[in-house]
Structures are given as structure tokens and as C-alpha cells.
């Protein structure tokens, strides 16, 4: 009992429990995964402000098994990082895992999914975003004109206000009603 290293203060754990969808045990599990990325950089004690100052560079985060095979890994890291660069502090990482967890409600997931698919970060999913997304999803297999057709069909189906790009309202309208959304937009930690 004496030599046990306290990773977080009680106040911190309560804060995290209130602000994320995790229980105490899961938060510690997430910390373990985070530390595995770079044990030298991430200390064992996070009782002071290490949780939101020490940032792991994005290249190392992308090597995590959960993100390694994901075509959108770079964009995911950018969305959840505090400065948009992709380097994640522990709190960013916890936030990311909380949104991807099973307990997160549909609209939170929809908001973050929107930001992930909005590759140029202009708050709209435009044609270029969709083209890039289709390219990443099929690992570059489709012909350009097939991609154009797909993008045109997507805009046709989803774009309600007719401005040629998807606002968050359009996106949410589509995605919240998709039966697979909750099960695919889910990373188990």
C-alpha cells in the first residue's frame, strides 16, 4: 500500500467521470493504453497538469492498433487534439475514447463524425471532402468517374437545402437514422 503510485488525484478522477462516459476502471485502462504509446514521454504520475500539457506526437498515436488501419486516422487525431495539429494530450485521448465508446449518445457521435469527415475543416462536407473520403475508404480502387458518380449521388440524397455541400444538419439527418452508425463508429478500449 505504501509504494503504490497514485496516477490521478481523486478530484481528477471525479472530473473525468463527470465529463466523459467512462467509469473509473475504464479511465485507468485508457491511461494504460495511452502510456503504452510512449512510456518515456508519459509519466506514471499525472496528478498535476501533465494530463493536459504533455502531448504525444501524432505519428506515434497513429501506430496504436486501434487507429493503425483506420483510413481517417490523421483526421481523427486532428479533430481531437487541442491545437488541431494531431498531437494528443491524455485528456484529448480520453475524450476521443469516450466519444467512440459504447455509452456515447448518437448526436455526440454524429457531431464528431461530421468533423472527422469534414477534411478541410470548413464546417461543411463539400465535394472535395467526399471525393477524398471515398478514395480513402476504398484504398484508391475506384475510378475517378465512379467516384464522381458516388459523390453526386451522396449529395443528391443527403443535401436537403440544395447548396451542394452537406451542413451538419444534413449530415446528422442521414447518419442518425442509419442502423449501423452506432456499431461502426465504435472503438472498444
Amino acid at each position: 500500500m505504501g509504494n503504490k503510485i497514485v496516477t490521478f488525484t481523486e478530484q481528477q478522477l471525479e472530473d473525468y467521470q463527470d465529463c466523459t462516459f467512462f467509469t473509473r476502471k475504464e479511465i485507468l485502462r485508457v491511461f494504460k493504453r495511452f502510456r503504452e504509446v510512449n512510456p518515456d514521454l508519459v509519466p506514471k504520475r499525472m496528478t498535476e497538469n501533465q494530463a493536459h500539457t504533455i502531448a504525444v506526437p501524432v505519428e506515434e498515436i497513429e501506430k496504436l492498433p486501434e487507429l493503425k488501419e483506420n483510413p481517417f486516422k490523421r483526421r481523427i487525431c486532428q479533430v481531437f487534439s487541442h491545437d488541431g495539429s494531431g498531437n494528443l494530450t491524455f485528456e484529448d485521448f480520453l475524450d476521443m475514447m469516450s466519444v467512440f465508446s459504447e455509452a456515447a449518445p448518437r448526436d455526440i457521435k454524429a457531431w464528431y463524425a461530421f468533423r472527422i469527415y469534414d477534411l478541410d475543416d470548413d464546417m461543411y462536407i463539400g465535394r472535395e471532402d467526399l471525393l477524398e473520403a471515398t478514395r480513402l475508404l476504398t484504398k484508391g480502387e475506384l475510378h475517378p468517374q465512379e467516384r464522381d458518380e458516388i459523390v453526386a449521388s451522396v449529395l443528391d440524397e443527403a443535401d436537403v437545402d440544395g447548396d451542394g455541400r452537406l451542413s451538419f444538419m444534413d449530415f446528422e439527418h442521414v447518419v442518425v437514422r442509419a442502423p449501423d452508425f452506432l456499431s461502426t463508429f465504435h472503438i472498444r478500449v
Binding site: C19, P65, D180, S183, I187
Partner: protein
């Protein structure tokens, strides 16, 4: 406007698209100042949209200021700012739903707590309120602790994650389902052992009951030495057990009430779980348009995939599905003639009738087999073996049959699941009915033995035979090493049905074989490891993406349904009568007697007896049933009305979008210094308003224009701009102006205004 609506909707796709693009060209910066363009997303949640719009408009404001803005927004909601546990819970939920980073949320939380404690009026609250708050707070804390406890003993977490990473979330959901059933059976077993088995064991030790010889075949059939053991109903004592000193333990009461409460408790849990799953996977997504492309792009990638092999398979499956969708879209849509549709429908009906006949024939054959009076030594084992093989092979048969019919892929899956469920439930019900009618001395034990044998022999099939087959298939695939053919996939539907069948057997048998849930829990434990090895070593990830979530709901529904039917059957059997030679209810004429005579002591209370007799009359029951039917019909009618309302609202949404387009284009013109004008009657075509205006306006306004008042037509009653009326009484005015001045602008639409002309023409023309 109504007739224009239809015309807009019937337009082919290509024209709509060009219309959109041309609109884009007409957009100006002025348009971006509209409120809906400022808030990049307008959700229904007041808290989020307000706080984020402010925060985003602040742009590069640092986090402190952003946090301040958010806190200020949240402070406006009175309910959030009170100093009691309910508000605290609301605050916590609001924080969680805030789409900001965690660091920001922590700052917001700190500021919010500071603000709340500043505001809290230190008014002495009444004792009653304080007590209420304390109770709700304690309950919340208790619930949190229980859920943490459940999470802390989560077995196989890493194992399931590994499988999910390799195979995708669908196979992961199968293992999740297996784990959930294992937990249920374990809980059931523990409670039964505590309340029913242990007292009986103590009683046995007291009385030193001897146990007979136990051979291996006896173990399988449950007869011989096992017959009169703790395993089965017949052995349980009919009176009081007084093994520990002066305390007595009434066995019949214990048995009955344990079974009763456990069945209803688990029924409640199952109903809750099924309803939750149904709501999440069916109702919340109902009424969605068919957005196949959009859902494919946005929900196609399974984020839980970890291995490279599964990732490349996912990518290729998405690619294949895109190609399929594209080809389907480019194909001309051939509407089937009525004759063909009727034909297909008749084929479906005919095949369904055949399947029902097959199931009925199987049940009849089973009945005859059971009634066959042979002198074979272990005939029952043979019968159980036959039942197990039939139930193991029938899903495959149904899979083949459903290919003959004309169903969509999802409907075919549901139909197969329904048919297999029907077969399982009818088999189990038949066994129950047969043994209760058979007149053997201790039929309850016979039913218990039957279910015990079924579970045991099915474990032979699913723990040994099937894995052997799958390993053999995987081995052959690896040896043949042809990269083109796809390897054996993990057969999700078949394995899930096995689980449902086993659980159904246990529901039937647990009342008469109290150790059966323990046996099933053990079996599921072994099954987990066997299936995991099978999947990892012998199977390939599936090529097609499987809609796991909705299938899960159907499986939960099947389990709940089997429990419901079982409750019904067992309830009616309990009311009827029990054996007089064995079991804890020997002394009572019917099992129900435990309650009526034992607990309520009805013979001594004639009034209560008369009341209960009245309440259980067929008339009263029929009345209750009828009112239930009426309530269900009312709710269904309301659901249908709401669904049609959703359809209406959605159409209105599209129309509003078109309105908005029109108005945006008009704002464009206004900000350019041009003014809208009433359209001419001859120029009205089937196109929309905005298209017309786009076509007519030739140049941006940078020339000096002349203001012409007559075009205003103040004298005539002008109709609302959005409506179109066939009559334009002022058209002759415009006709005379047509040949005047500017040749390049179409004078019917553009005002020509400048300050000097304003003064001149106003005086003489305005009448």
C-alpha cells in the same frame, strides 16, 4: 404554389443538380450574414447551439474566454443552476453532451460549480426535502457503484476485443451475446443453488439417502443412479427441512417461490433489454429515407477493425458494394407487372405453407417416436439424439429453402430466423405436453431428464462435431491455397440460433432440473473458448458487411419469446396438477395449492377465496385481454399517425429549402442594388421562381439606372410574391415599355433607378 410543388419534385435528377450549381454561382457574401449561415449547425439542443455559436464566432478566442462564454450560456438555464442533486445530474449530462475537448469541459465544470455555489440561496429547506435529496443522491451513488462493480468483473474483455479487431463488429456482437447469456445463466444457477439445492443437500446428509450406481450411460440419460438425485425434481423433499438445529425451511414454498420469482425477474430483464435494443435499432431509425450511398460512405468503415487483413477486406467489401449500387442506379428500373408480383407472392406463400407442414410433420413424427413402446435399453438417449440432430440440421435446410423464395436479403434472414425459432419452440412445447400427458409416475422428472439430455447431446454437437467440421474446412482451404476462392466464414446466424435454442431448453427445464442452468453456464464457458479458437484459426472475415445491430434485436426477441411461451406453458401446468408420488408438491393437489393453501390459506378465508374465484373467471380475464388489445391498437394508431406526420414534416422541410433558395437569390439581387419585380404572365413556365429570375437577370448592376414608378403598380392589388396567380392585370403596362431604352437588360425585370430620375418621375407618374 401547390402545382409548382409537384413540378419541382418530378424533375429529373440532372436538372436539379445544375440548378444547384447555378445557384451557387449567384451566392454572394451578403448571403453569409443570414443567421442560419452563422450557426454552422442548428441542432435542437438549445444548450449546445447557443454556446457553440458564440464560441465559434469568437473565432480565435482563447480557451478561458470560450469557457466563459459557454458558462454564461449555461447559466441562463434556470434548472441547471440549482444546488441540489437533480440539478447536479442535469449539469453532468449537459457537460457530457458538450462537444468540446476535455480540457475545456473541466474548466467549464469548475467555473460552473463556482457559479452555482455562489448563487445557491442558503434557505433552510424542509426536512422532507432534505430527506428526498439524500435518498436520491444515495440511490445515484449506489447505482454508480453497482455498475462499476459489474464492469470490474467483465470477463473476456480482451478476448472479445481481439476477435472484433480481426473480424469486425458483427462477430464481436455474437461473442457479446454469448457472454451475456453466460452471465444470465450463472446468476440463475447461483440463485437456484443457494435457495433450492443446498437445503436439499443438507437434508440428504441428515437422512443419509443412498445414491444408486452410476454408469456412463446413466450419466447421459439421467436415469439409474441419477434419477433420484439432486439433479431432478422428483428428489426434492415435500416438507420441512430442518438440518440446522431448530430452524426449519419449508421446501415446497422455497421451491415454488424461487422458481416463480426467478422466472419473472429474468423475464423482466429480458423484456427491458429487448425493448431497449428494439428502440435503439429499429424505432430511432424508422422513417429514414433510403440514403444508401450516404450511409455507405459515412457508416461503411468499421472503426473497430485492428488487423490489416480485416481492413483490406473491409475496403474491398465497400468497393464491391459501391460498384453494386452504381450498377443498380444506372440500370433502368423495370417495374414488375402485377402478374409477376402476384406470382412471386404465391410462391412465397406456398413455400411458407410447405415449411409449416414440414414442421408439423416433424412434430408428429417426434410424438410417434416418443410414444413408441420399445424395450430397447436406452431408447430415450436415441430419441434425444434424433431431436438434437434434427434441430442442428434444420437451420441449414431452411437457409436452402429460403433461396427458392423471392425475398430481399434482410427479409430472408429474418424469415429463416423466425422459422427456426418456430421449430425450436414447438419441439420444446411438444416434449412438455407429451411428458405431462404420458402418465408416467414422475413426469416432471421425466421432463427434467429430457431437457438435461438435450443440453448434454447438443454440447456434443456444438463443442465437438461442429468445430471439427470447421477446422477441417479451414484446413482444406489452407491446403488448396487458392487465393480467389473465399475461405469459410464464421456462420453468425447458425451459431446465434444455437445459443437461442440452448437458452430455450434451459427455460423449459430449469423448473424441473434445478442444476440445468449451472450445466448450461459451464457449457457456454467452454463454448466461448472453442468458438474463439474456431474463428481465429479456421475462419476468414466476412466479405459482406453484416447488419449486426438489427439482428441482435431479433435474437433478443427470440429469447424473450421462448421464455414467454415457457412461462405460459409452465403456468398452465402448475395450475393443472402435479404428481402425487414425487417432488416437493406431493401434498398439494395442484402446484398452485402452495400459494392458495399454504400462503393465503384460502380454505380458512372464504371471502378472499370468493374474491379470487371471481377475479379468475373467464369473463374477467376476457375483459382484461380485450382492454389490452384495445390499448395496443390505440398505441399503434398513434404510432402510425406520428409516422405520417414525420413524412409531412420532411416534405415541408424540402419545400422550405426551396423557399430559402428563392429568398437567398432575392437577397442577392437586393444587395446588388437591383430590385425584384413581379413576373410577367407569359413568362411563367414550369420552372421554379428562382430559375426564372436567374435566367432573366443578365448583368450585375453597375450602371446608372432610371427609376420608373409605373413599374411598381401601386394602384393594382399586387399578389404576394411567393404565390403565382394566372392573371397579371398590369401586363399591358410592361408591354409598352418593352421597346424602350436599355437593350441589354430585360426591362420587365430590372428596375432602372437613380436619384435624379426619382425626383423627376415621381411627381407626374404617381397617381
Amino acid at each position: 404554389m401547390e402545382d409548382q410543388v409537384e413540378e419541382i419534385e418530378l424533375k429529373p435528377v440532372t436538372v436539379r443538380r445544375t440548378f444547384t450549381l447555378r445557384n451557387n454561382v449567384a451566392r454572394q457574401v451578403a448571403v453569409n450574414f443570414m443567421p442560419s449561415r452563422q450557426i454552422p449547425y442548428g441542432t435542437l439542443r438549445l444548450r449546445r447551439s447557443n454556446s457553440d455559436s458564440e464560441a465559434l464566432l469568437a473565432g480565435g478566442a482563447d480557451s478561458e474566454r470560450q469557457a466563459d462564454i459557454i458558462v454564461r450560456e449555461m447559466e441562463q438555464l434556470q434548472r441547471l443552476m440549482e444546488d441540489n442533486p437533480v440539478s447536479e445530474e442535469l449539469r453532468r449530462e449537459a457537460l457530457r453532451d458538450l462537444p468540446q475537448g476535455l480540457t475545456m469541459k473541466r474548466t467549464v465544470r469548475a467555473k460552473l460549480s463556482a457559479s452555482v455555489s455562489l448563487r445557491s440561496k442558503h434557505r433552510p429547506i424542509s426536512f422532507y426535502k432534505r430527506l428526498k435529496y439524500r435518498i436520491s443522491f444515495a440511490m445515484k451513488k449506489g447505482r454508480d457503484r453497482i455498475s462499476e462493480l459489474i464492469f470490474s468483473i467483465e470477463p473476456w474483455h480482451e478476448a472479445i476485443r481481439h476477435v472484433e479487431g480481426q473480424f469486425g463488429s458483427a462477430v464481436g456482437s455474437y461473442f457479446h451475446f454469448l457472454r451475456w447469456l453466460f452471465a444470465i445463466n450463472l446468476l440463475l444457477a447461483m440463485l437456484l443453488v443457494c435457495f433450492v439445492v443446498v437445503p436439499q443437500v443438507l437434508h440428504d446428509q441428515e437422512n443419509n439417502n443412498k445414491t444408486g450406481s452410476m454408469g456412463f450411460l446413466d450419466f447421459v440419460s439421467g436415469k439409474g443412479g441419477f434419477e433420484d438425485s439432486v439433479l431432478f425434481y422428483g428428489h426434492y423433499h415435500w416438507g420441512d427441512v430442518s438440518a440446522l438445529g431448530p430452524l426449519t425451511y419449508n421446501m415446497p414454498f422455497a421451491y415454488f417461490f424461487t422458481m416463480f420469482s426467478l422466472y419473472f425477474f429474468f423475464f423482466a430483464i429480458l423484456c427491458y433489454r429487448t425493448a431497449y435494443s428494439y428502440r435503439r435499432n429499429f424505432i430511432e431509425i424508422a422513417g429514414g429515407l433510403s440514403n444508401v450511398f450516404a450511409t455507405k460512405v459515412f457508416c461503411g468503415w468499421d472503426f473497430g477493425i485492428v488487423s490489416q487483413h480485416a481492413a483490406s477486406l473491409n475496403a474491398s467489401s465497400i468497393y464491391n458494394e459501391f460498384k453494386e449500387l452504381l450498377s443498380e442506379q444506372n440500370k433502368k428500373h423495370v417495374t414488375m407487372s402485377l402478374c409477376r408480383r402476384v406470382c412471386q407472392y404465391m410462391v412465397n406463400v406456398a413455400v411458407t405453407l410447405c415449411v409449416l407442414a414440414l414442421v408439423a410433420a416433424l412434430q408428429y413424427g417426434l410424438w410417434q417416436l416418443l410414444a413408441l413402446d420399445t424395450q430397447l435399453q436406452h431408447w430415450e438417449i436415441f430419441v434425444s439424439l434424433i431431436i438434437t440432430f434434427v434441430i442442428a440440421l434444420c437451420p441449414l435446410l431452411f437457409n436452402l429453402i429460403v433461396r427458392v423464395e423471392y425475398y430481399k436479403a434482410r427479409t430472408a434472414l429474418y424469415v429463416t430466423l423466425a422459422r427456426t425459432g418456430l421449430l425450436d419452440i414447438s419441439t420444446l412445447t411438444l416434449l412438455l405436453v407429451y411428458w405431462s400427458q404420458s402418465g408416467t409416475p414422475c413426469w416432471e422428472s421425466a421432463v427434467g431428464r429430457e431437457t438435461y439430455r438435450l443440453v448434454l447431446l447438443d454440447s456434443l454437437v456444438s463443442l465437438f462435431l461442429l468445430p471439427l467440421v470447421e477446422f477441417a474446412r479451414g484446413f482444406i482451404f489452407k491446403m488448396s491455397s487458392s487465393s480467389s476462392s473465399t475461405g469459410p466464414e464464421f456462420n453468425l446466424s447458425y451459431n446465434s440460433l444455437t445459443l437461442v435454442y440452448n437458452q430455450g431448453v434451459v427455460w423449459v427445464g430449469a423448473a424441473w432440473c434445478p442444476l440445468l442452468p449451472a450445466a448450461l453456464a459451464l457449457k457456454f464457458l467452454l463454448l466461448f473458448y472453442v468458438k474463439r479458437e474456431c474463428a481465429l484459426r479456421a475462419c476468414q472475415p466476412a466479405r459482406k458487411v453484416w447488419r449486426a445491430a438489427q439482428t441482435q434485436t431479433v435474437l433478443y426477441m427470440l429469447v424473450t419469446l421462448s421464455l414467454f411461451v415457457t412461462l405460459f406453458a409452465i403456468g398452465s401446468l402448475f395450475l393443472r396438477g402435479s404428481s402425487e408420488w414425487c417432488g416437493p408438491f406431493m401434498k398439494y393437489s395442484a402446484v398452485w395449492g402452495v400459494v392458495s393453501e399454504g400462503v393465503l390459506r384460502l380454505p380458512d378465508r372464504p371471502v378472499l377465496h370468493a374474491l379470487l374465484a371471481f377475479l379468475t373467471r373467464p369473463g374477467v380475464i376476457a375483459f382484461l385481454f380485450l382492454s389490452l388489445c384495445v390499448a395496443t391498437y390505440l398505441m399503434r394508431a398513434r404510432a402510425r399517425a406520428q409516422r405520417s406526420m414525420v413524412g409531412i414534416l420532411r416534405r415541408m422541410l424540402v419545400l422550405q429549402a426551396k423557399d430559402k433558395d428563392f429568398l437567398l437569390a432575392a437577397i442577392d439581387k437586393v444587395s446588388n442594388g437591383e430590385w425584384l419585380y413581379n413576373p410577367r404572365e407569359e413568362d411563367q413556365s414550369a420552372d421554379s421562381h428562382t430559375l426564372k429570375y436567374l435566367q432573366e437577370v443578365r448583368k450585375p448592376s453597375n450602371a446608372a439606372y432610371h427609376f420608373d414608378v409605373t413599374r411598381l403598380n401601386h394602384s393594382e392589388p399586387r399578389p404576394h410574391r411567393a404565390e403565382t396567380r394566372p392573371h397579371r392585370p398590369h401586363s399591358h403596362h410592361v408591354a409598352t415599355r418593352r421597346t424602350s431604352e436599355d437593350g441589354d437588360t430585360d426591362s420587365s425585370f430590372s428596375w432602372q433607378g437613380s436619384a435624379t430620375c426619382l425626383n423627376n418621375t415621381n411627381d407626374d407618374k404617381l397617381e
